[in-house]
Amino acid sequence: MNRALPLLRTAALRLWLPVLLAIVWWYASAGSQNIYFPPLSTILETFAADWLGSRAATDLVPSLGKFVLGFLISAAGGIALGTWLGLSPAAREAAEPVVQFLRSLPPPVLLPIGLLLFGITGTMNVAIIVMGAIWPTVLNTADGIRSLDGQVADMSRSYRLTFAQRLFSVALPNAAPQVFAGLRTTLQLSIILIVVSEMVAAASGVGYYVLNSQQTFAVAQTWAGTLVLGLIGYLSTLVFLAVEKRVLNWQHGMRRAAEGA
Protein backbone atom coordinates (compact mmCIF):
# COMPACT_ATOMS: atom_id res chain seq x y z
CA MET A 1 0.00 0.00 0.00
CA ASN A 2 1.08 3.51 -0.71
CA ARG A 3 2.01 5.04 2.62
CA ALA A 4 1.94 8.62 1.41
CA LEU A 5 -1.77 8.54 0.67
CA PRO A 6 -3.12 8.15 4.20
CA LEU A 7 -0.70 10.86 5.29
CA LEU A 8 -2.04 13.23 2.70
CA ARG A 9 -5.55 12.33 3.64
CA THR A 10 -4.85 13.05 7.29
CA ALA A 11 -3.29 16.37 6.41
CA ALA A 12 -6.27 17.30 4.26
CA LEU A 13 -8.68 16.25 7.00
CA ARG A 14 -6.83 18.28 9.58
CA LEU A 15 -6.48 21.36 7.49
CA TRP A 16 -9.73 21.94 5.69
CA LEU A 17 -11.61 23.43 8.61
CA PRO A 18 -8.88 25.79 9.86
CA VAL A 19 -8.18 26.94 6.31
CA LEU A 20 -11.86 27.50 5.68
CA LEU A 21 -12.24 29.48 8.90
CA ALA A 22 -9.17 31.54 8.11
CA ILE A 23 -10.59 32.40 4.69
CA VAL A 24 -13.95 33.31 6.15
CA TRP A 25 -12.24 35.45 8.78
CA TRP A 26 -10.08 37.13 6.15
CA TYR A 27 -12.99 38.19 3.98
CA ALA A 28 -15.41 38.95 6.77
CA SER A 29 -12.94 41.23 8.49
CA ALA A 30 -11.51 42.88 5.38
CA GLY A 31 -12.10 46.61 5.65
CA SER A 32 -13.57 46.23 9.12
CA GLN A 33 -14.01 49.56 10.88
CA ASN A 34 -14.77 48.01 14.22
CA ILE A 35 -11.93 48.98 16.47
CA TYR A 36 -11.98 45.65 18.31
CA PHE A 37 -12.19 43.50 15.19
CA PRO A 38 -9.43 44.73 12.92
CA PRO A 39 -8.96 43.12 9.49
CA LEU A 40 -7.08 39.82 9.60
CA SER A 41 -4.50 41.37 7.30
CA THR A 42 -3.73 44.03 9.92
CA ILE A 43 -3.42 41.37 12.61
CA LEU A 44 -1.06 39.33 10.49
CA GLU A 45 1.03 42.36 9.67
CA THR A 46 1.29 43.23 13.35
CA PHE A 47 2.10 39.62 14.09
CA ALA A 48 4.87 39.56 11.51
CA ALA A 49 6.28 42.89 12.60
CA ASP A 50 6.23 42.11 16.31
CA TRP A 51 6.86 38.41 16.52
CA LEU A 52 8.96 37.42 13.57
CA GLY A 53 11.61 39.96 14.44
CA SER A 54 13.66 40.86 17.49
CA ARG A 55 10.81 40.28 19.90
CA ALA A 56 11.09 36.58 19.37
CA ALA A 57 14.36 36.57 21.30
CA THR A 58 13.57 39.17 23.93
CA ASP A 59 9.96 38.32 24.69
CA LEU A 60 9.19 34.89 23.35
CA VAL A 61 12.17 32.90 24.54
CA PRO A 62 11.97 33.94 28.21
CA SER A 63 8.22 33.31 28.28
CA LEU A 64 8.66 29.94 26.65
CA GLY A 65 11.37 29.10 29.14
CA LYS A 66 9.08 29.90 32.06
CA PHE A 67 6.25 27.97 30.48
CA VAL A 68 8.33 24.87 29.80
CA LEU A 69 9.86 24.94 33.24
CA GLY A 70 6.50 25.61 34.87
CA PHE A 71 4.90 22.78 32.94
CA LEU A 72 7.67 20.31 33.74
CA ILE A 73 7.57 21.12 37.42
CA SER A 74 3.77 20.91 37.43
CA ALA A 75 3.92 17.59 35.63
CA ALA A 76 6.52 16.02 37.89
CA GLY A 77 5.10 17.53 41.04
CA GLY A 78 1.54 16.78 40.02
CA ILE A 79 2.29 13.14 39.35
CA ALA A 80 4.19 12.81 42.60
CA LEU A 81 1.53 14.50 44.68
CA GLY A 82 -1.28 12.72 42.87
CA THR A 83 0.40 9.37 43.37
CA TRP A 84 0.74 10.03 47.05
CA LEU A 85 -2.88 11.04 47.35
CA GLY A 86 -3.99 8.09 45.25
CA LEU A 87 -2.05 5.57 47.28
CA SER A 88 -2.80 6.69 50.75
CA PRO A 89 -6.37 7.26 51.84
CA ALA A 90 -5.08 8.94 54.94
CA ALA A 91 -3.03 11.40 52.94
CA ARG A 92 -5.97 11.96 50.66
CA GLU A 93 -8.29 12.80 53.49
CA ALA A 94 -5.74 15.01 55.17
CA ALA A 95 -4.79 16.94 52.06
CA GLU A 96 -8.14 16.96 50.28
CA PRO A 97 -9.53 20.19 51.75
CA VAL A 98 -6.32 22.07 51.10
CA VAL A 99 -5.93 20.75 47.56
CA GLN A 100 -9.52 21.50 46.65
CA PHE A 101 -9.26 24.90 48.26
CA LEU A 102 -6.07 25.87 46.48
CA ARG A 103 -7.19 24.82 43.06
CA SER A 104 -10.31 26.93 43.32
CA LEU A 105 -8.37 30.12 43.96
CA PRO A 106 -8.29 32.43 40.96
CA PRO A 107 -4.68 32.61 39.78
CA PRO A 108 -4.54 36.41 39.94
CA VAL A 109 -4.98 36.23 43.69
CA LEU A 110 -2.04 33.87 43.87
CA LEU A 111 0.17 36.63 42.55
CA PRO A 112 0.63 38.41 45.88
CA ILE A 113 1.66 35.13 47.47
CA GLY A 114 4.15 34.43 44.69
CA LEU A 115 5.44 37.95 45.06
CA LEU A 116 5.82 37.56 48.80
CA LEU A 117 7.67 34.28 48.54
CA PHE A 118 9.79 34.78 45.46
CA GLY A 119 9.88 38.49 44.78
CA ILE A 120 10.15 39.94 41.33
CA THR A 121 11.98 37.09 39.69
CA GLY A 122 11.52 34.51 36.99
CA THR A 123 11.07 32.05 39.83
CA MET A 124 7.92 33.88 40.82
CA ASN A 125 6.51 33.52 37.31
CA VAL A 126 7.29 29.84 37.28
CA ALA A 127 5.82 29.43 40.75
CA ILE A 128 2.58 31.07 39.64
CA ILE A 129 2.36 28.71 36.68
CA VAL A 130 2.95 25.73 38.92
CA MET A 131 0.49 26.88 41.58
CA GLY A 132 -2.22 27.26 38.99
CA ALA A 133 -1.53 24.44 36.56
CA ILE A 134 -0.57 21.52 38.76
CA TRP A 135 -4.08 20.56 39.90
CA PRO A 136 -5.50 18.68 36.92
CA THR A 137 -2.48 16.39 36.96
CA VAL A 138 -2.75 15.87 40.70
CA LEU A 139 -6.41 15.05 40.48
CA ASN A 140 -6.13 12.79 37.46
CA THR A 141 -3.16 10.92 38.81
CA ALA A 142 -4.88 10.32 42.12
CA ASP A 143 -8.02 9.09 40.37
CA GLY A 144 -6.04 6.98 37.93
CA ILE A 145 -4.05 5.33 40.69
CA ARG A 146 -7.18 4.55 42.60
CA SER A 147 -8.87 2.93 39.63
CA LEU A 148 -6.56 -0.07 39.62
CA ASP A 149 -8.43 -3.23 38.77
CA GLY A 150 -8.88 -5.42 41.84
CA GLN A 151 -7.52 -8.44 40.08
CA VAL A 152 -4.31 -6.64 39.20
CA ALA A 153 -3.99 -5.37 42.74
CA ASP A 154 -4.41 -8.92 44.01
CA MET A 155 -1.75 -10.12 41.63
CA SER A 156 0.77 -7.55 42.77
CA ARG A 157 0.10 -8.27 46.39
CA SER A 158 0.24 -12.01 46.09
CA TYR A 159 3.58 -11.88 44.29
CA ARG A 160 4.76 -9.47 46.95
CA LEU A 161 5.98 -6.93 44.47
CA THR A 162 8.09 -4.30 46.13
CA PHE A 163 6.69 -0.85 46.64
CA ALA A 164 8.77 0.51 43.78
CA GLN A 165 7.52 -2.22 41.48
CA ARG A 166 3.95 -1.71 42.42
CA LEU A 167 4.40 1.96 41.81
CA PHE A 168 6.38 2.04 38.60
CA SER A 169 5.29 -1.20 36.99
CA VAL A 170 1.70 -1.40 38.07
CA ALA A 171 0.07 1.69 39.51
CA LEU A 172 1.56 4.36 37.29
CA PRO A 173 1.22 2.52 33.97
CA ASN A 174 -2.35 1.75 34.92
CA ALA A 175 -2.99 5.40 35.65
CA ALA A 176 -1.03 6.57 32.62
CA PRO A 177 -3.95 7.26 30.27
CA GLN A 178 -5.66 9.33 32.89
CA VAL A 179 -2.42 11.02 33.89
CA PHE A 180 -1.92 12.08 30.31
CA ALA A 181 -5.40 13.49 30.11
CA GLY A 182 -4.53 15.56 33.16
CA LEU A 183 -1.16 16.59 31.76
CA ARG A 184 -2.86 17.84 28.66
CA THR A 185 -5.00 20.20 30.72
CA THR A 186 -1.97 21.20 32.76
CA LEU A 187 -0.25 22.06 29.51
CA GLN A 188 -3.13 24.26 28.47
CA LEU A 189 -3.26 25.98 31.84
CA SER A 190 0.50 26.53 31.84
CA ILE A 191 0.20 28.60 28.69
CA ILE A 192 -2.72 30.54 30.07
CA LEU A 193 -0.80 31.17 33.23
CA ILE A 194 2.13 32.68 31.35
CA VAL A 195 -0.20 35.58 30.84
CA VAL A 196 -1.37 35.72 34.43
CA SER A 197 2.14 35.46 35.80
CA GLU A 198 3.24 38.35 33.64
CA MET A 199 0.46 40.53 35.00
CA VAL A 200 2.77 41.52 37.79
CA ALA A 201 6.26 42.92 37.72
CA ALA A 202 6.97 42.03 34.11
CA ALA A 203 8.22 44.30 31.38
CA SER A 204 8.60 41.75 28.64
CA GLY A 205 7.13 38.43 27.57
CA VAL A 206 4.15 37.24 25.59
CA GLY A 207 1.80 37.60 28.52
CA TYR A 208 3.00 41.11 29.21
CA TYR A 209 2.56 41.93 25.53
CA VAL A 210 -1.03 40.74 25.51
CA LEU A 211 -1.97 42.48 28.75
CA ASN A 212 -0.15 45.68 27.99
CA SER A 213 -1.59 45.97 24.52
CA GLN A 214 -4.98 45.42 26.06
CA GLN A 215 -4.42 48.15 28.66
CA THR A 216 -3.27 50.55 25.98
CA PHE A 217 -6.02 49.74 23.50
CA ALA A 218 -3.60 48.32 20.93
CA VAL A 219 -6.16 45.86 19.64
CA ALA A 220 -4.27 44.46 16.67
CA GLN A 221 -1.43 43.62 19.02
CA THR A 222 -3.76 41.89 21.44
CA TRP A 223 -4.93 39.72 18.59
CA ALA A 224 -1.40 39.08 17.43
CA GLY A 225 -0.40 38.08 20.97
CA THR A 226 -3.37 35.77 21.19
CA LEU A 227 -2.26 34.23 17.92
CA VAL A 228 1.15 33.62 19.44
CA LEU A 229 -0.43 31.90 22.43
CA GLY A 230 -2.52 29.73 20.15
CA LEU A 231 0.53 28.73 18.18
CA ILE A 232 2.48 27.92 21.32
CA GLY A 233 -0.43 25.76 22.39
CA TYR A 234 -0.67 23.99 19.08
CA LEU A 235 3.04 23.30 18.75
CA SER A 236 3.49 22.20 22.33
CA THR A 237 0.57 19.84 21.91
CA LEU A 238 2.30 18.27 18.94
CA VAL A 239 5.39 17.63 21.04
CA PHE A 240 3.26 16.41 23.91
CA LEU A 241 1.42 13.94 21.73
CA ALA A 242 4.65 12.57 20.34
CA VAL A 243 5.82 11.88 23.89
CA GLU A 244 2.46 10.45 24.87
CA LYS A 245 2.49 8.13 21.92
CA ARG A 246 5.78 6.68 23.03
CA VAL A 247 4.77 6.27 26.63
CA LEU A 248 1.30 4.93 25.92
CA ASN A 249 2.53 2.77 23.11
CA TRP A 250 0.90 -0.33 24.57
CA GLN A 251 -2.39 1.42 24.77
CA HIS A 252 -2.37 2.61 21.19
CA GLY A 253 -1.43 -0.88 20.12
CA MET A 254 -4.23 -2.32 22.15
CA ARG A 255 -6.73 0.04 20.63
CA ARG A 256 -5.52 -0.63 17.12
CA ALA A 257 -5.71 -4.36 17.80
CA ALA A 258 -9.27 -3.92 19.03
CA GLU A 259 -10.12 -2.02 15.88
CA GLY A 260 -8.84 -5.01 13.92
CA ALA A 261 -5.72 -3.63 12.31
Partner: protein, 280 residues
Protein backbone atom coordinates in the same frame (compact mmCIF):
# COMPACT_ATOMS: atom_id res chain seq x y z
CA UNK B 1 -17.60 -34.75 59.51
CA UNK B 2 -19.04 -37.63 57.55
CA UNK B 3 -16.43 -40.03 56.24
CA UNK B 4 -16.84 -41.78 52.94
CA UNK B 5 -16.03 -45.42 52.45
CA UNK B 6 -13.35 -44.58 49.97
CA UNK B 7 -11.77 -42.20 52.33
CA UNK B 8 -11.64 -44.51 55.31
CA UNK B 9 -10.28 -47.22 53.14
CA UNK B 10 -7.30 -45.20 52.12
CA UNK B 11 -5.39 -45.39 55.34
CA UNK B 12 -3.36 -42.62 56.89
CA UNK B 13 -3.12 -39.12 55.60
CA UNK B 14 0.25 -38.35 54.02
CA UNK B 15 2.97 -37.52 56.49
CA UNK B 16 4.63 -34.10 56.82
CA UNK B 17 3.87 -30.82 58.55
CA UNK B 18 0.83 -28.77 57.63
CA UNK B 19 1.85 -25.85 55.42
CA UNK B 20 -1.61 -24.45 55.01
CA UNK B 21 -4.26 -24.92 57.62
CA UNK B 22 -7.80 -23.66 57.55
CA UNK B 23 -9.53 -23.44 60.89
CA UNK B 24 -13.26 -22.90 60.78
CA UNK B 25 -12.83 -20.36 57.98
CA UNK B 26 -15.85 -18.15 57.39
CA UNK B 27 -16.38 -15.43 54.85
CA UNK B 28 -19.35 -13.31 53.97
CA UNK B 29 -19.69 -10.51 51.45
CA UNK B 30 -21.56 -7.35 52.23
CA UNK B 31 -22.83 -6.13 55.58
CA UNK B 32 -26.08 -5.88 57.41
CA UNK B 33 -29.17 -7.44 55.93
CA UNK B 34 -27.61 -7.74 52.47
CA UNK B 35 -24.71 -9.84 53.76
CA UNK B 36 -24.31 -13.22 52.11
CA UNK B 37 -22.51 -16.00 53.94
CA UNK B 38 -20.28 -17.81 51.43
CA UNK B 39 -17.84 -19.89 53.45
CA UNK B 40 -19.37 -21.30 56.55
CA UNK B 41 -16.67 -22.99 58.55
CA UNK B 42 -14.17 -24.63 56.24
CA UNK B 43 -11.56 -26.92 57.82
CA UNK B 44 -8.73 -28.71 56.12
CA UNK B 45 -5.00 -28.71 55.93
CA UNK B 46 -2.40 -29.10 53.22
CA UNK B 47 0.88 -30.77 54.12
CA UNK B 48 4.25 -29.99 52.67
CA UNK B 49 4.70 -31.42 49.20
CA UNK B 50 1.09 -32.43 48.95
CA UNK B 51 -1.02 -31.91 45.84
CA UNK B 52 -4.56 -31.05 46.88
CA UNK B 53 -7.38 -30.44 44.43
CA UNK B 54 -10.48 -28.49 45.37
CA UNK B 55 -13.68 -29.18 43.50
CA UNK B 56 -17.15 -27.88 44.04
CA UNK B 57 -20.12 -26.32 42.29
CA UNK B 58 -19.66 -23.08 40.41
CA UNK B 59 -20.13 -20.19 42.78
CA UNK B 60 -19.56 -22.27 45.89
CA UNK B 61 -16.60 -20.20 47.02
CA UNK B 62 -13.45 -21.83 45.70
CA UNK B 63 -11.95 -18.57 44.49
CA UNK B 64 -12.95 -16.92 47.74
CA UNK B 65 -11.25 -19.72 49.64
CA UNK B 66 -8.05 -19.37 47.66
CA UNK B 67 -7.98 -15.63 48.20
CA UNK B 68 -8.35 -16.11 51.92
CA UNK B 69 -5.44 -18.54 51.94
CA UNK B 70 -3.36 -16.16 49.85
CA UNK B 71 -4.00 -13.32 52.30
CA UNK B 72 -5.89 -11.32 49.71
CA UNK B 73 -9.19 -11.41 51.52
CA UNK B 74 -9.73 -11.11 55.21
CA UNK B 75 -11.87 -13.90 56.62
CA UNK B 76 -15.00 -12.87 58.47
CA UNK B 77 -14.35 -15.63 60.95
CA UNK B 78 -11.92 -18.41 61.72
CA UNK B 79 -8.43 -18.25 60.30
CA UNK B 80 -5.98 -19.59 57.82
CA UNK B 81 -2.45 -20.43 58.87
CA UNK B 82 0.60 -20.53 56.67
CA UNK B 83 3.50 -22.48 58.14
CA UNK B 84 1.95 -22.13 61.53
CA UNK B 85 1.52 -18.35 61.30
CA UNK B 86 -1.86 -16.73 60.92
CA UNK B 87 -2.11 -15.20 57.45
CA UNK B 88 -2.57 -11.44 57.59
CA UNK B 89 -0.90 -10.50 54.36
CA UNK B 90 0.22 -12.47 51.31
CA UNK B 91 3.00 -14.84 52.39
CA UNK B 92 6.20 -14.47 50.41
CA UNK B 93 6.63 -18.13 49.63
CA UNK B 94 3.29 -18.43 47.94
CA UNK B 95 2.20 -17.73 44.38
CA UNK B 96 -1.27 -17.59 42.87
CA UNK B 97 -2.39 -18.31 39.32
CA UNK B 98 -5.67 -16.48 39.03
CA UNK B 99 -8.84 -17.68 37.40
CA UNK B 100 -9.39 -14.43 35.55
CA UNK B 101 -6.06 -14.54 33.77
CA UNK B 102 -6.95 -11.86 31.24
CA UNK B 103 -7.02 -9.33 34.03
CA UNK B 104 -4.03 -10.45 36.02
CA UNK B 105 -1.53 -9.85 33.22
CA UNK B 106 -0.43 -6.25 32.84
CA UNK B 107 -1.35 -4.99 29.37
CA UNK B 108 1.48 -2.48 29.31
CA UNK B 109 4.17 -5.14 29.53
CA UNK B 110 5.24 -7.91 27.25
CA UNK B 111 4.81 -11.44 28.48
CA UNK B 112 8.49 -11.64 29.36
CA UNK B 113 8.25 -8.48 31.43
CA UNK B 114 5.12 -9.78 33.10
CA UNK B 115 6.91 -12.92 34.14
CA UNK B 116 10.08 -11.06 35.10
CA UNK B 117 8.31 -8.61 37.36
CA UNK B 118 7.97 -10.74 40.52
CA UNK B 119 11.30 -12.47 39.90
CA UNK B 120 13.32 -9.34 40.46
CA UNK B 121 12.99 -9.61 44.15
CA UNK B 122 13.96 -13.24 44.27
CA UNK B 123 16.60 -14.07 41.74
CA UNK B 124 19.75 -12.47 40.37
CA UNK B 125 19.60 -11.11 36.89
CA UNK B 126 21.32 -13.87 34.94
CA UNK B 127 19.18 -16.51 36.53
CA UNK B 128 16.02 -14.61 35.73
CA UNK B 129 16.41 -14.79 31.98
CA UNK B 130 17.04 -18.51 32.09
CA UNK B 131 14.06 -19.00 34.33
CA UNK B 132 11.78 -17.03 32.09
CA UNK B 133 12.91 -18.91 29.02
CA UNK B 134 12.40 -22.19 30.78
CA UNK B 135 8.94 -21.22 32.01
CA UNK B 136 7.87 -19.99 28.58
CA UNK B 137 9.19 -23.13 26.97
CA UNK B 138 7.43 -25.37 29.44
CA UNK B 139 4.01 -23.84 28.78
CA UNK B 140 4.55 -23.88 25.03
CA UNK B 141 5.14 -20.19 24.58
CA UNK B 142 8.79 -20.34 23.59
CA UNK B 143 9.50 -17.43 21.26
CA UNK B 144 6.30 -15.62 22.25
CA UNK B 145 7.80 -13.63 25.08
CA UNK B 146 7.88 -10.40 23.11
CA UNK B 147 4.11 -10.31 22.64
CA UNK B 148 1.81 -8.18 24.74
CA UNK B 149 -1.05 -9.97 26.50
CA UNK B 150 -3.59 -8.39 24.18
CA UNK B 151 -1.74 -9.82 21.22
CA UNK B 152 -2.34 -13.31 22.50
CA UNK B 153 -5.23 -15.70 22.47
CA UNK B 154 -7.10 -16.55 25.64
CA UNK B 155 -5.28 -19.83 26.09
CA UNK B 156 -1.92 -18.19 25.53
CA UNK B 157 -2.68 -15.58 28.16
CA UNK B 158 -3.61 -18.28 30.57
CA UNK B 159 -0.40 -20.13 29.90
CA UNK B 160 1.56 -16.93 30.37
CA UNK B 161 -0.03 -16.52 33.79
CA UNK B 162 0.92 -20.10 34.62
CA UNK B 163 4.46 -19.47 33.44
CA UNK B 164 4.68 -16.53 35.81
CA UNK B 165 3.58 -18.69 38.70
CA UNK B 166 6.04 -21.43 37.84
CA UNK B 167 8.99 -19.15 37.25
CA UNK B 168 8.46 -17.62 40.67
CA UNK B 169 9.10 -21.07 42.10
CA UNK B 170 7.05 -20.71 45.25
CA UNK B 171 6.92 -23.18 48.10
CA UNK B 172 3.16 -23.20 47.77
CA UNK B 173 1.37 -22.74 44.51
CA UNK B 174 -2.33 -21.87 44.42
CA UNK B 175 -3.94 -22.39 41.05
CA UNK B 176 -7.50 -21.39 40.23
CA UNK B 177 -8.81 -23.32 37.23
CA UNK B 178 -5.53 -22.79 35.47
CA UNK B 179 -6.18 -24.97 32.45
CA UNK B 180 -9.72 -23.91 31.63
CA UNK B 181 -8.85 -22.14 28.40
CA UNK B 182 -6.32 -24.44 26.79
CA UNK B 183 -6.81 -27.24 24.34
CA UNK B 184 -6.92 -30.87 25.32
CA UNK B 185 -3.37 -31.75 24.39
CA UNK B 186 -1.89 -28.68 25.99
CA UNK B 187 -3.90 -29.43 29.07
CA UNK B 188 -2.42 -32.89 29.29
CA UNK B 189 1.06 -31.47 28.87
CA UNK B 190 0.48 -28.85 31.51
CA UNK B 191 -0.94 -31.36 33.95
CA UNK B 192 2.19 -33.39 33.68
CA UNK B 193 4.26 -30.25 33.89
CA UNK B 194 2.73 -29.29 37.22
CA UNK B 195 3.23 -32.81 38.57
CA UNK B 196 6.83 -32.68 37.49
CA UNK B 197 7.38 -29.30 39.10
CA UNK B 198 5.90 -30.64 42.31
CA UNK B 199 8.23 -33.62 42.27
CA UNK B 200 11.29 -31.64 41.33
CA UNK B 201 10.95 -28.75 43.80
CA UNK B 202 8.74 -30.39 46.40
CA UNK B 203 6.21 -27.61 45.78
CA UNK B 204 2.95 -27.81 47.67
CA UNK B 205 0.04 -27.31 45.27
CA UNK B 206 -3.54 -26.32 45.96
CA UNK B 207 -5.42 -26.65 42.73
CA UNK B 208 -8.99 -25.63 41.91
CA UNK B 209 -10.52 -27.39 38.94
CA UNK B 210 -13.85 -28.28 37.45
CA UNK B 211 -12.55 -31.27 35.64
CA UNK B 212 -13.00 -34.31 37.85
CA UNK B 213 -10.65 -36.47 35.80
CA UNK B 214 -8.05 -33.83 36.21
CA UNK B 215 -8.62 -33.56 39.94
CA UNK B 216 -8.29 -37.29 40.50
CA UNK B 217 -5.37 -37.61 38.12
CA UNK B 218 -3.35 -34.85 39.78
CA UNK B 219 -4.26 -35.00 43.42
CA UNK B 220 -3.01 -36.71 46.50
CA UNK B 221 -6.20 -35.53 48.06
CA UNK B 222 -9.43 -34.09 46.67
CA UNK B 223 -11.45 -31.66 48.75
CA UNK B 224 -15.09 -31.55 47.73
CA UNK B 225 -16.92 -28.40 48.74
CA UNK B 226 -20.62 -28.41 49.45
CA UNK B 227 -22.98 -25.93 47.91
CA UNK B 228 -23.41 -22.64 49.69
CA UNK B 229 -23.08 -21.84 52.54
CA UNK B 230 -19.98 -23.80 51.84
CA UNK B 231 -18.23 -26.33 54.00
CA UNK B 232 -15.97 -29.26 53.18
CA UNK B 233 -18.31 -32.07 52.24
CA UNK B 234 -15.60 -34.64 51.54
CA UNK B 235 -11.90 -34.97 51.95
CA UNK B 236 -10.86 -37.83 49.72
CA UNK B 237 -7.41 -39.34 49.71
CA UNK B 238 -6.41 -40.44 46.23
CA UNK B 239 -4.48 -43.65 46.62
CA UNK B 240 -3.33 -43.98 43.03
CA UNK B 241 0.32 -44.86 42.64
CA UNK B 242 2.98 -42.33 41.70
CA UNK B 243 4.25 -41.33 39.23
CA UNK B 244 0.98 -40.84 37.40
CA UNK B 245 0.70 -41.60 33.75
CA UNK B 246 -1.94 -40.09 31.46
CA UNK B 247 -2.94 -43.34 29.85
CA UNK B 248 -2.07 -45.96 32.44
CA UNK B 249 -3.32 -44.14 35.49
CA UNK B 250 -6.59 -43.26 33.84
CA UNK B 251 -7.06 -46.83 32.82
CA UNK B 252 -6.89 -48.18 36.37
CA UNK B 253 -10.19 -49.31 37.84
CA UNK B 254 -9.39 -47.40 41.01
CA UNK B 255 -9.24 -44.22 38.95
CA UNK B 256 -12.72 -44.85 37.60
CA UNK B 257 -13.98 -45.59 41.08
CA UNK B 258 -12.58 -42.43 42.58
CA UNK B 259 -13.78 -40.39 39.68
CA UNK B 260 -17.31 -41.70 39.98
CA UNK B 261 -17.23 -41.14 43.70
CA UNK B 262 -16.10 -37.54 43.41
CA UNK B 263 -18.70 -36.87 40.76
CA UNK B 264 -21.44 -38.23 42.96
CA UNK B 265 -20.30 -36.16 45.90
CA UNK B 266 -20.40 -32.96 43.86
CA UNK B 267 -23.85 -33.90 42.65
CA UNK B 268 -24.94 -34.43 46.20
CA UNK B 269 -23.37 -31.17 47.28
CA UNK B 270 -25.16 -29.33 44.54
CA UNK B 271 -28.57 -30.74 45.23
CA UNK B 272 -28.17 -29.72 48.85
CA UNK B 273 -27.78 -26.14 47.79
CA UNK B 274 -30.79 -24.39 49.14
CA UNK B 275 -29.51 -20.84 49.18
CA UNK B 276 -30.29 -20.17 45.56
CA UNK B 277 -34.00 -20.43 46.12
CA UNK B 278 -34.10 -19.12 49.63
CA UNK B 279 -32.31 -15.94 48.67
CA UNK B 280 -34.18 -15.29 45.48
Amino acid sequence: MQQSIIETRTGDAPAGEAVVELVDLRKSYGTGPSAVQILDGVNFEVRRGEFVCVVGPSGSGKTTLLKCIAGLLKPSGGRTDFEGQEVTEPPAKLAVVFQDYSRSLLPWMTVRANIALPLRNKFPKQERQARIDEALESVGLAGKGHLYPWQMSGGMQQRAAIARGLAYQPDVLLMDEPFAAVDAQTRIDLEDLVLEVRDRYDTTVLFVTHDIDEAVYLADRVIVLSGAPTTVSHNITVDLPHPRHQVDTKREPRFAELRAFVFEQIQAAKSNTVRNRADA
